[in-house]
Structures are given as C-alpha cells and as structure tokens.
C-alpha cells in the first residue's frame, strides 16, 4: 500500500539490519572520535558504542513508529498491529515484536544464555581457586571474576521481571498487553548490544575492579572497565523504561473487579520491584556516568588530589545497589509465594500482610545502603542508625517465611518440581537471611567484611531467592508458555543435583570467611587448600545440573507432551486461557470477584471466563 510505504521512514527492519546498523554506527562514532576529534581510546570506544547502539536500534526498527509520529505522518495502524507478530512464526523472536509474550520469552532465553556464560566464568574461577598458587594469572582471574559478577547481576536483575514478568503480568491482571508495547520491545532490544559489550571486555584489556567498580581503582587504565560501565548504564536505562511500563500497566490496566488487594502476589512483588527500579537506577547511572566523565573528560568527582571524594562514589553506588538486591530478590519471592498455594492446595496465608511486607521492604531498602560501607572510613555517626535499619528490614523479609509456612502447614502438598524449588528456596533464603544479620551487626561485620563469608551470604540470598525463584517459575509456567509439559524426572534430577551441589559449594565458604580468607583473591594460604578443592568440585556439579535443565527445556519445548490449559488447577487468570495463550490473551476481558487463592472453598472461581477452548497449539 502506498500509504504504508510512505508512513514508514525506515525500510523493513530485522536483526540483520540491526547488526548492520550497529556496525555502521560503530564505524561512524569511532571514526568521528578518532579523526574528527583526535580523541583517546576511551572516548573512541564511548562514541563508537553510543552510535552503534543507536544504529542497532534503528536497524531493528525500534524507532519506526515514533519517527513516523514525530514527522507528523499518520502511523499505519495495520502495520502497528502486525508488529505483534503472528502465532507460530519463529522469526518474531528475532524482530522488534511488540507482543509482551514474545518479549517475555526473549528476555527469559537471553537471561539463561547469559547465565550459562557467567556460570562458565565461575567455573574458570573455581579452576584457579581449586589449589593454592596461581594456575592462570592474576590478571585473568580478576577479569573473569569481575565479568562473572557483572553478568550474574544482570541476570538476577532482569530474568524474572523481564522474562516471567513481561509474559505473565498482563495475563495475570486481565489485560491484552502491557501499557506501552513498543517501549517494552525497545527495553529488550537495548540489551543484546550491552551484553556483547560486557562479554567482550576481555578483548579490550579486561577490568579488575569487580562489579562494584570503586574508584580510584576503576579510574585507572583498562578499556575493559569502560566497556563494563557503559554496558551497565545501558541495562539501567532499559530497566527504567521497563519499570514505567510495569507500573502504568498495573495501575491503569487491571480487569474490572481486580482491586489492588485482589492482584496475585507475584504482580505485587513485581510492582514494588518496578518502583524500586524506577527510583534507584538513575542514581547509579549517574555515579557510573560521573566515573566515565572522570575517565574521559578530565572531571574530578572522585579524584582526591583535585578535590573529589572517593567515598562519595560508594554512597551513590550503594544507594542504588542495595535496593538493587531487592530488585533481584523480590521477583523471586513473589514467584515462590505465587506457587506455594497451588501445590499446597491452600490459600496464600496472610496475603494482606505479605503485600505489606513487599511494600515495606521496598521503602526500607532505601535506608540501609551504608551497611556495605561499615569499614569504608565513612562518617562514624552513620554506623548505628544504619545497623538499626538493616536489622529492622529483616522483620518484613521474615514475613515471606510466615506466608509460605502458613500456606504449607496443614496443606495437601504435591511435590511437583516447582514445589521442590519452593522448599529449596525456603532453606537457602533462610540461610542467606540469618547470615545477613551477622553482616548487619557492626562488631561481627568488622571481621566478616570483604571475606568469603560475604560471598556465601549473597550467593545464598541471590541464588536462593532469585535463581531458585527463577527455576521454580520457569518450571511452573513452562506449560503455559510453551503449551507442552517438561519432563518431571529430569526436573527432579536437576533440582536435587543443583541443590545439593549449591549447598556443598557455599556452606564451607562461611567457615572460610571466619577463618580469614579474603574475597576477590586468586590465591590463598595453603591451609585453605582442601576446602577450596572441595568447593570447586561441588561447583562443577552445579554446572552439570544446569546442563540437565537446559536439555530438559529444549527437548520438552520441541517434543514434550501437549499441556492442558490449566495442568496445575491454579486460579490466577493466565491459567484460564489456552496454553500458550492467544495473541490477544483473552477473547473477552474477565471479571474478577476475589483473590486467586480460594483453594478449599467450594465452587471457587475467582475470575470467570467460561471454559478455555482446547486449542491446537503453536510454538
């Protein structure tokens, strides 16, 4: 159609054009910097990356509709609609597709790929640490360690809310899509180039500052450092955009009858998470930008010799990064609490209190950041108030155990694979939480700060909270997303192997920390050799179990038995439509009458939709 042709300013988009755009952008930006501005290497990289990112996004068609609108032309509605993608077309996963279900899968798969890469980095670390002495080199170790951290942080931040959240929230609130579908797709497509950038940091010289990037160490040389900083800021911008989307969807697009206190707990968890992301991320983006400016433009924010303040960076960084750990953990907690009622066949215990818990954790998370800085040399008067707020935040966090245990107690427990992960979470997050108190208490923190105790603590909370939640959610919603059932036996194997290996890997680290093993070291006193060897062996098992998981997922998606619309007999809205759901989600927007936790009450059907039609599924 002539009108359609005129309407779109940029030719038909796709991943190939995106990559082409990126390459052209890189050449343009780098060339401009190198020849036009006589810039240094860091500035060349910066300009090259920014142009490459814009080129990539232009190529994938992210700006098509907005550019058309900006030029004052009418947007072709049919073309905009087609951007939702057709069911069964695998190519829509590699395009700028606006259907939230496609975007959710894009996020989920990308997160898992990043998880595998970061896990491989961990295996390299454990190879080095298996014995005293230096097997590879300190340079390689520091870079691999920093990269492992940077990538895993990204996975933890993005996997559940970006993957499962995007897929499920519109379904769970009874909407046809997110509030801003195009912005949603843009959020996703900002990530691939950022991932490539951070993954290629070893080629740029690596970086040895850890993901925390404290100056002055992070101001020194090494282009790889800059790659990390720029990639992280990109992910930050993407998550702010995504957060806006979630909040507007939840507050403006719920189905009739779904008051806030009738929303599924998973949606509540993601709402608080989005609020945290919205408010806190700009602060770290600015901190990293100031650091980049110090490196590239000669500013002195963090240069003590020119009036700057080194500890200021830590305050700004942790002001975001503490809420960030809740951005990582709350979606996992939400997924777990969503799953427990289904497999205990009982209502979620203390639902209103659980909602209050999420909100209070969100609010309080802004008041505790300096507990990462107890020995940093910051002003002493901070110590006691921060110790108080940090210890207090364990009160709402403990409520997740109240809700989960209260639901499980006297239930009719079915130990399907998602429920196994729930139990695993309850143990792991408990250990993480208890050991957190040791770090919150300043007298004990003096000994424990910057040791392997801290490493064990955050792995227990993040793996225990986020990753166990991610696995639980992935298995639980697998039939809904793919329309097929995963293999239960392989799922059990994965769970037990992973859980035993995980605990075997990280429990000894608590002991190591108390005994004096520092973190971020490539070598250690000979007395720690045997324990480290054991840990490395156990860690290898984690990796192997994840291979089982990947195999199960891929094979089941391609050839698993077809799944019914509601194999778990759950009550949230996504289970009342076909597996996988139709493109528009609902034939008719449902009307909600109660919370989705009416198990045990006769005739419970809190969202009325009529029977979901049996559908011939498409992948």
């Amino acid at each position: 159609m002539i009108a359609a042709r005129r309407a779109s300013l940029v030719p038909a988009p796709g991943l190939l054009r995106a990559i082409g755009g990126a390459v052209i952008g890189l050449a343009l930006g780098a060339g401009l910097a190198a020849f036009g501005l006589q810039a240094e290497l860091g500035q060349i990289l910066a300009l090259g990356y920014i142009f490459a990112l814009l080129g990539f996004l232009l190529g994938i068609g992210a700006f098509r509709f907005w550019l058309t609108w900006a030029a004052g032309r009418e947007v072709d509605v049919a073309e905009e609609h087609a951007a939702h993608g057709r069911a069964g077309d695998w190519r829509r996963y590699f395009r700028f597709t606006t259907d939230h279900k496609v975007i959710g899968v894009q996020y989920l798969v990308s997160a898992f790929v990043l998880f595998f890469i970061a896990g491989t980095a961990a295996m390299l670390m454990r190879f080095e640490l298996a014995q005293p002495g230096i097997a590879t080199s300190k340079d390689i170790y520091n870079t691999v360690m920093s990269t492992h951290g940077a990538m895993m942080i990204t996975v933890a931040l993005v996997s559940i809310i970006g993957g499962l959240g995007n897929y499920l929230v519109p379904l769970m609130v009874g909407a046809r899509d997110m509030a801003f579908p195009k912005a949603n797709a843009l959020s996703y497509w900002m990530l691939p180039l950022a991932i490539v950038l951070v993954a290629s940091n070893p080629l740029l010289g690596g970086f040895d500052s850890g993901w925390t990037a404290y100056p002055p160490l992070s101001q020194q040389a090494n282009l790889g450092q800059q790659a990390y900083l720029m990639a992280f800021v990109t992910v930050g911008v993407s998550s702010i955009l995504s957060a806006i989307n979630f909040l507007v969807t939840v507050f403006r697009m719920r189905a009739p009858g779904m008051s806030l206190m009738r929303m599924p707990i998973f949606v509540w968890a993601l709402t608080v998470t989005a609020a945290l992301a919205l408010i806190a991320t700009s602060v770290v983006a600015m901190a990293f930008t100031m650091l980049l400016f110090d490196r590239l433009l000669g500013t002195s924010f963090f240069r003590a010799s020119r009036g700057g303040d080194v500890i200021l960076f830590q305050h700004l960084f942790w002001f975001y990064s503490h809420p960030a750990v809740y951005i990582m953990a709350l979606p996992g907690l939400g997924a777990i609490l969503e799953i427990v009622p289904v497999f205990a066949r009982k209502p979620l215990f203390a639902y209103p209190l659980a909602v209050l818990m999420f909100v209070s954790i969100g609010v309080m998370s802004f008041m505790v950041w300096a507990h990462h800085m107890f020995v940093s040399g910051m002003a002493e008067f901070f110590h006691i108030p921060i110790m108080l707020t940090t210890e207090l935040i364990s009160v709402p966090t403990g409520i997740v155990f109240l809700a989960a245990l209260g639901t499980i107690w006297m239930g009719r427990i079915q130990f399907k694979v998602p429920m196994l992960w729930v139990f695993g979470f309850l143990w792991a997050f408990l250990i993480g939480g208890i050991t957190g108190v040791f770090l919150a208490d300043v007298p004990t923190d003096i000994t424990l700060s910057d040791t392997y105790f801290v490493v064990a603590h955050f792995h227990y909370t993040i793996v225990g909270g986020t990753i166990f939640g991610l696995f639980a959610g992935t298995y639980y919603w697998f039939p809904k997303i793919t329309g097929r059932m995963y293999d239960e036996t392989l799922g059990r194997l994965h769970f037990w192997w992973f859980t035993i290996a995980f605990n075997a890997t990280f429990i000894p680290m608590f002991w190591l920390g108390i005994e004096g093993m520092r973190r971020r070291v490539a070598d250690y006193p000979a007395g720690f050799g045997l324990v480290n060897l054991f840990i490395s062996f156990a860690a290898l098992n984690i990796a192997l179990s994840v291979v089982v998981f990947a195999f199960n997922m891929v094979r089941s998606w391609r050839r698993g038995p077809l799944a019914a619309p509601n194999p778990w007999r759950a009550q949230t809205l996504e289970w009342q439509v076909a597996s996988p759901p139709p493109i528009e989600n609902f034939d008719q927007i449902p009307i909600v009458t109660d919370t989705p936790y009416q198990y045990g009450s006769p005739g419970a059907a809190p969202g009325s939709l009529g029977a979901a039609p049996a559908r011939r599924l498409r992948p």
Binding site: A71, F180, L297, T299, F301, L316
Partner: protein
C-alpha cells in the same frame, strides 16, 4: 500515557538528585568554595536573565496547553512558538556564559560539578526544545485537537520539570 510521563520524570528527579547530592557532599567537605585560589564564582547577571527566561517560558508553555485543550490551532502555534524562542535564547545565553566563565571542565572538582550539573540540565533543555519542535510541527499539520493533545500535555510536564531543576540549580550553584 501521562502517568508514564510522570513516572519518567520521577526517575529524572533521582538523576538530578544524585548530582545535587554529589555537589553538596563535595562542597560540604571543602573549607572554601571555590576550593582553588584564582577561580571565581560566576556572576549573577546572565544566570539571572536565564531564570527569567525559563520561568516565563513555563508560563507560555502552560498557555499553549490551555490552547490545546480548547483546540485552537493558531493559539497553540503562537504559544508553542514563543516558548521555543524563549528556550532557544536560554541555550544561547548559557553557551555565552560558559565561554566567558574563565574556567573549564578540568578546573578540579569546582569545574566538574559546575559543568556537569549545568551540562545535564542544558541537555534536558535541548531535548525539551526538540520535543516542542515536533509537537509544534504536528500542530501546524492540524494533528493537535481538543481530544488529541496528550503530547502537548506531556511536553508541558517535562518542560515544567526542567524549569524547576533550573530554579534549584540557580539557587545552589549561583546563590548559595
């Protein structure tokens, strides 16, 4: 849509919040300000002029919004145009001030905080002007009406925010 814009602005508030926090911390730790001899704080004339420009541009922006709610095309164009001009003059005055300040980005932490704070603000002003230009063009093409003028409202929220940041900036960097 407007809720989304408000949330975006909240995020931007935090962005500037971080910058202001950094400024106060650094300044609080220096016994004198500017901390290096030979540097002088900028004079108030040009920034004062800029303040007047931005405040009036917010008023004219709001007139444009009212015109949009009434669907009056010629009034919309007039008020948007005036706002654009006021904003443009602001940028020019700011540029002139930078050129004649007597210190650069590399003037230690004094230069860093000054230029990065005003720089980020200036970038936001430019973005706002760009947005305004697009909306003005759409109005010119007859695409703005009493029923469809969300973009005008959204642009006004953004513009008022940018103005508010300037007021804070002016007080902090120039007055305090």
């Amino acid at each position: 849509m407007l809720l989304g814009v408000k949330l975006g602005i909240l995020s931007e508030v935090m962005l500037f919040g971080a910058l202001f926090a950094a400024y106060f911390v650094i300044r609080g730790e220096s016994s004198e300000w500017p901390p290096v001899a030979g540097l002088e704080r900028p004079e108030l004339l040009l920034p004062g002029l800029n303040t007047a420009l931005l405040v009036s541009s917010s008023a004219t922006m709001q007139m444009a919004v009212r015109a949009a709610r009434g669907g009056d095309r010629s009034r919309i164009l007039r008020w948007l145009g005036v706002t654009l001009i006021l904003g443009g003059i602001f940028i020019l005055v700011q540029g002139y001030e930078f050129a004649t300040n007597g210190f650069g980005l590399d003037a230690g932490v004094f230069g860093s905080t000054f230029y990065i704070l005003t720089g980020f603000h200036g970038a936001h002003v430019l973005a706002g002007l760009g947005l305004m230009a697009i909306v003005t063009n759409r109005a010119r093409l007859g695409l703005v009406s009493a029923e469809h003028h969300t973009a005008v409202e959204a642009t006004s929220y953004y513009w008022h925010f940018v103005d508010a940041v300037w007021l804070f900036l002016f007080s902090t960097l120039y007055l305090l």
